[in-house]
């Protein structure tokens, strides 16, 4: 491609724009002085954008995205988060229930969506346990049980050593049947779960006293990434029994569920942002989780940069489009 004066002008203008805007944005984000490393990164990115502008090759886009994710991870840029009402609704519900309420947490996702889903489940588990509620853990997805065990091992056992299994929390585990399982649990929990995940009879646990079916639950939380997921919980349990349903899903899934909010769905965490918002609310109320409940908040750093890069990409794309159109017109 032949380089014209317009090309050089746009490259220089973009570099200037980034050098000015970049630190401003970082300062807004961190309320701190920008350090030289970031200037370096900025120059680097500018060069790549220039390269992209020259070649219009999408592999440069791939490289840009990779850098946008890796560089902030290497330099530990954290994100800044504020809790939105739709997430706050879940937090407030857990907060307002009297201690000892029954809360069901269902793990309806697999390893593929762990980055988004696991922080949600972990944060809600922390909150439910610190409030002294009874936590019933189950999975509608076969892959969910493994994730539930992960939470139990890394969060419950480590951070809540005083909580007793079977008294404060109970791992019911996975049962096949998809939405049919929810349907059956609505009628009776014992009909599906005669034992817990370890195979101990369910009635041996003091928590199960007075728990008959899903209507015995004061709140059902579901962390999901597809079908069956929150939609099925709403359809087969929430709508039928007027049980409050809330939870978190991947951002893609979230757009599908907003029509259910707020009539059929108490609140919803959408993607990493939702998880980070819940973590933020949790940290604000319970500072003891400042060091542990921060996975999603920490991930927001690379997110911010990647979003900015994509936005700039669109601008560059349009610039290329208008330049080439002008050239063709001549």
């Amino acid at each position: 491609m032949h380089l014209t004066a317009v090309h050089y002008f746009i490259i220089v203008a973009m570099a200037a724009l980034q050098i000015v805007l970049g630190p401003v944005c970082y300062n807004i984000a961190r309320r701190k002085e920008a350090n030289p490393v970031k200037w370096l990164i900025l120059g680097w990115l500018t060069g790549l954008f220039g390269l992209l502008f020259l070649t219009d090759d999408r592999r440069v886009v791939f490289l840009l995205i990779a850098l946008a994710v890796v560089v902030p991870m290497v330099f530990h840029l954290p994100g800044i988060v504020a809790t939105s009402p739709i997430v706050k609704a879940i937090f407030d519900k857990v907060e307002s229930l009297p201690p000892g309420s029954n809360i069901l947490l269902s793990y309806d996702y697999g390893p593929a969506t762990v980055p988004e889903n696991q922080p949600m489940a972990d944060a809600m588990t922390r909150h439910v346990l610190v409030k002294g509620h009874h936590l019933f853990i189950m999975a509608v997805w076969a892959t969910g049980e493994r994730q539930a065990k992960l939470t139990v091992d890394s969060v419950v056992v480590k951070e809540f050593p005083d909580k007793v299994y079977g008294q404060d929390y109970l791992l019911l585990g996975y049962k096949a049947g998809n939405q049919g399982l929810i349907n059956a649990l609505y009628q009776s929990i014992r009909g599906m779960y005669t034992t817990d995940a370890q195979g101990k009879p369910i009635d041996d646990f003091p928590m199960m006293k007075g728990v008959e079916n899903l209507r015995s639950m004061d709140l059902i939380l579901c962390v999901g990434s597809g079908k069956p997921g929150i939609k099925e919980w709403v359809q087969f349990a929430g709508d039928r029994g007027n049980i409050p349903i809330a939870g978190g899903v991947t951002a893609v899934e979230a757009t599908l569920l907003y029509p259910y909010y707020p009539r059929q769905l108490l609140g919803l965490m959408g993607g990493l942002q939702g998880a980070a918002e819940y973590e933020k609310a949790l940290i604000d109320h319970y500072p003891q989780f400042k060091m542990t409940s921060i996975t999603a908040v920490r991930y927001m750093g690379p997110q911010t940069i990647a979003h900015l890069v994509i936005i700039i990409l669109v601008v560059v794309g349009n610039a290329i489009y208008f330049v080439t159109r002008k050239q063709q017109a001549h």
Partner: protein, 301 residues
Amino acid sequence: MAPRNFIILAIIAAVILVMLFTGAFSDFQSLKLWVGALLTLMIFSFLYKDNPFYKFAEHLFVGVSAAYWMTKGIQTTLWPNCLRPVLLDWFQGGAASVAADHLPFGVLPYGVARVIPAVFGLILLTRLIGPIGWLSRWAMAFIIGYAAGTNFTRYLQSDFVGQIYNTLLPVVNGPGAFGVFVAYAVIAAALILAYRFLIAGLQRGAGAVTTRSIFWIATVVFVLLFATKFPNLTVVTGVICGLIYFFFSVEHKGLFGWTSRIGIYMLMLAFGATFGYTVMARISLLIGRMSDLGTWLGRVF
């Protein structure tokens, strides 16, 4: 196939196998990390261009996952739900399997009800035998009938009646809303009149561009204000316009053309919003992969 590719393939296979099994047997964490990281890099390499490493990972993935799902299907469904009970019926007269799950069995004798799906399944497998392969259509017909029937009512309930129910909202609400509504209606009428008599007849020229820009900016601001002031009215109107876009029996001209165009704009806005909202999820996935790669790099260096 060039011999060079063959050598690459052999090397990959040898390295992976050695690593996987030493990793598995000795429980040596870093070797597991190596396998995961190498496979990750092989798949990412496709982003540059197709190459033998990607081909290897792709074919390995297909083989392993197809087998995994098949064994899973056999171990979790075919055997416990079908073959085992049928065999038990066969050998023990049915008593054992009845005790195993407490399904009451209505009209058909228990054993027969259990055998029917197995018969359908075997009919499906006649496909592998050429001349009577057409029998397999019976099994397909069963699944299609079941699926069509259940989907029919399910869609009617949650997506049809459910969404209509969600859309039925008081269109104008809030204190003093009617007065505001009338005011907005007057402004809307003024805008339409302005378009009809002022903008539509404008000639080219700098002044015209400015006037036109001012008009369109005013319109967009007005629409936004209106939409936020009367969200329910916006929803109802928008849904109706969207439905008109999906209307097939009428040519989209005149009033239909206008409304269906608003409908398709609504769809585009929705798509844009979903797209923008999804970016975060996709970046999250990459962050997850990169942090795994980071753990690997941390081990190595």
